[in-house]
């Protein structure tokens, strides 16, 4: 039994089986964007059904902001309020960077489930499941940013750049995080367990975030550390975010962050996609 096609795009397919509906039409092949959006929707559904996975998004930024403000504030800047003006942009960067690791952890967990076999056997743009998941992660990074900034404002942080400054700062953090996430997805495809992704991720992130200008002005550090801090891309990011918050960011600083992100994507996105395509 066949059904007449409703439009030129849709083609009829022949038989259906008796317990299946007869009004059955083979849809046109979907484009990459709508497939990616469908996977983004899956990420949102996952958050709806497993809200615990937002724990990192909420917990890490709150913990970092409170801990470092009150631990270092008096000692480093005389008062917590003074220090907060310096720290908060750095704490935003650090909090969101920590949250990016979970993208790799989640992907690694996800890959071990049978549903990925089905995704891989579908006639869709291959990297779509990963790109779609990153889309959902973008939402998580945004939420984490909102929490840090909201908490900072409560504690007395007053960004000189106003709303535009804050939004552009968040934009810079998201752009950098998008690049960084591909490093974790690459690790997720190479390493065997989610724990291994977590451990290696932390091992990379700790020196990158602490050996930077997140917490203090690095002028007093020894020469060798200073040279590392100078070439550390996180330093440039924090500087750009700080200046954006103050409304004094330069084009050079913005493009520096964007170029770093683009380089990370250029190296690790193809690597991720290649590893995913050949994964057995």
């Amino acid at each position: 039994m066949t059904t007449p096609s409703k439009s030129g795009l849709e083609t009829t397919i022949g038989p259906t089986f008796d317990s299946a509906p007869s009004s059955y039409i083979r849809p046109p092949q979907p484009n990459a964007l709508s497939v990616v959006l469908a996977f983004g929707w899956r990420a949102v559904l996952k958050i709806k059904h497993v809200p615990e996975q937002l724990g990192d998004v909420i917990g890490i930024p709150i913990m970092f902001t409170l801990l470092f403000t009150y631990l270092f504030g008096g000692a480093l800047a005389g008062s917590t309020e003074n220090y907060l003006q310096y720290l908060l942009p750095g704490s935003l960067v650090m909090g969101v960077m920590m949250v990016t690791i979970y993208s790799g952890v989640t992907l690694n967990t996800d890959l071990s489930t049978g549903v990925f076999d089905r995704f891989r056997s579908l006639p869709i743009w291959r990297p779509a499941p990963i790109v779609g998941a990153l889309l959902g992660d973008g939402g998580r990074y945004l939420a984490a940013s909102g929490i840090v900034i909201g908490l900072g404002m409560l504690l007395g942080f007053r960004p000189g750049g106003g709303v535009v400054g804050v939004l552009s700062a968040v934009g810079l953090v998201l752009a950098f995080s998008f690049g960084l996430t591909w490093v974790w997805t690459t690790l997720a495809l190479i390493l065997r367990t989610p724990n291994a992704v977590m451990n290696l991720g932390m091992l990379v992130l700790f020196p990158l975030t602490f050996a930077s200008n997140v917490f203090v002005d690095p002028n007093t550090t020894p020469g060798w550390l200073q040279s590392f801090i100078d070439i550390n891309p996180v330093t440039d990011l924090v500087t750009a975010v700080r200046h954006a918050m103050q409304g004094t960011v330069s084009t050079g600083e913005v493009s520096g962050v964007l170029v770093t992100s683009a380089v990370l994507v250029a190296i690790f996105a193809p690597l991720t996609i290649r590893l995913y395509a050949t994964k057995s």
């Binding site: 317990s19 709508s34 497939v35 489930t113 049978g114 076999d117 089905r118 891989r120």
Partner: protein, 327 residues
């Protein structure tokens, strides 16, 4: 263009090596369109690896395969448009509900939001899953999960459906439901390739069977052909009087057209039977001839027996599963 349009799957000398293990080791296959084809073999025989190659999830290390006329390596996308895979472990998202799973897959197949919802609810009805549509899949029983899994494979009716151990771990009722579904899909023209460790399942569903051992096809044929080579069951008879053994032996041998073995205890007889329908008649004849039967049993050959008969060695997989069904 298409050298063998009548073949759904055509594989020659397929090889896949994992480390030192040759999981698939020179597999040849010709699956006619419109049939249900069974891969029978123990765990570790290479069934799943072979299916994963044919479903374009794995690249073979050697040999070649065409699925529905398309090369699995060079024309993988064309293959993917035409096949569906139901993996050994539920190929659905455990965190999502049944409805969400089907809507997601319908979207991925290119249905609009509205069409996807309509298709999902049609399938939920067809597979009798409407009652649990709003529950997360992780709360489903094995049977419900399998049904959802197969429903997910029929969002777009595939030309070829791969079912990897569709009933492993299911209770008999769920197993029968899965069997019915497979049959109706096949009746509607879908070619089905299923793997199983159970001879009775292959027997119930498959038109042709390939017995797989150590990554190779060791026997291939219709169920009838395969049964003839193995015997479809084994009959065991114990007599009350040892002096009647030779008479009973020749009668059984005539009636069943099979070689009958006499046990050394002088009262036991064993035969491999290829036509089980003659067994009751043979037993009736024995009692008509006043041969007193103490007890008898008739069972299908287990996978172990099939293996032994076909390969000359016992099943070497990690779990030699057998399910003996009485007739």
């Amino acid at each position: 263009m298409d050298p063998h349009p009548e073949l759904a799957i055509e594989a020659s000398s397929l090889v896949k090596v994992f480390g030192r293990t040759r999981a698939v080791d020179g597999l040849d296959l010709a699956v006619p369109r419109g049939t249900v084809y069974g891969f029978l073999g123990p765990n570790g025989a290479g069934k799943t690896t072979a299916i994963r190659i044919l479903a374009t999830l794995l690249r073979p290390d050697g040999g070649s395969a065409r699925v529905l006329g398309y090369d699995v390596e060079r024309e993988a996308d064309r293959v993917r448009q035409r096949v569906s895979l139901t993996g050994q472990f539920a190929s659905v998202d455990e965190d999502l509900t049944g409805l969400e799973n089907l809507v997601l897959l319908a979207r991925l197949w290119g249905h609009s939001r509205r069409q996807a919802r309509a298709r999902a609810s049609e399938l939920l009805d067809a597979f009798d899953l409407s009652d649990v549509a709003g529950r997360q899949v992780k709360t489903y029983s094995g049977g419900l999960r399998r049904r959802l899994d197969i429903a997910a494979s029929t969002i777009v009716t595939p030309e070829l459906l791969f079912l990897d151990e569709p009933t492993t771990g299911l209770d008999p009722r769920s197993r029968n439901q899965v069997w019915r579904t497979v049959r109706s899909l096949a009746d509607a023209g879908t070619t089905v390739l299923l793997t199983t460790q159970y001879l009775d399942e292959a027997d119930q569903l498959a038109d042709r069977i390939a017995v797989i051992d150590s990554g190779k096809v060791v026997a291939e044929g219709t169920t009838a052909e395969l049964k003839r080579s193995v015997g479809s069951g084994s009959l065991k008879v114990r007599l009350l009087h040892s002096e009647q053994q030779s008479q009973a032996m020749s009668m059984l041998s005539d009636f069943l057209d099979a070689k009958v073995h006499a046990d050394p205890d002088n009262v036991g007889l064993r035969a491999r039977v290829s036509q089980p329908e003659h067994v009751t008649e043979a037993l009736t004849q024995l009692s008509r001839s006043a041969i007193a039967i103490g007890d008898f049993s008739f069972g299908r050959p287990s996978l172990d027996e099939v293996f032994l008969a076909l390969t000359g060695h016992a099943v070497t997989g990690s779990t030699a599963t057998s399910r003996e069904d009485a007739i």
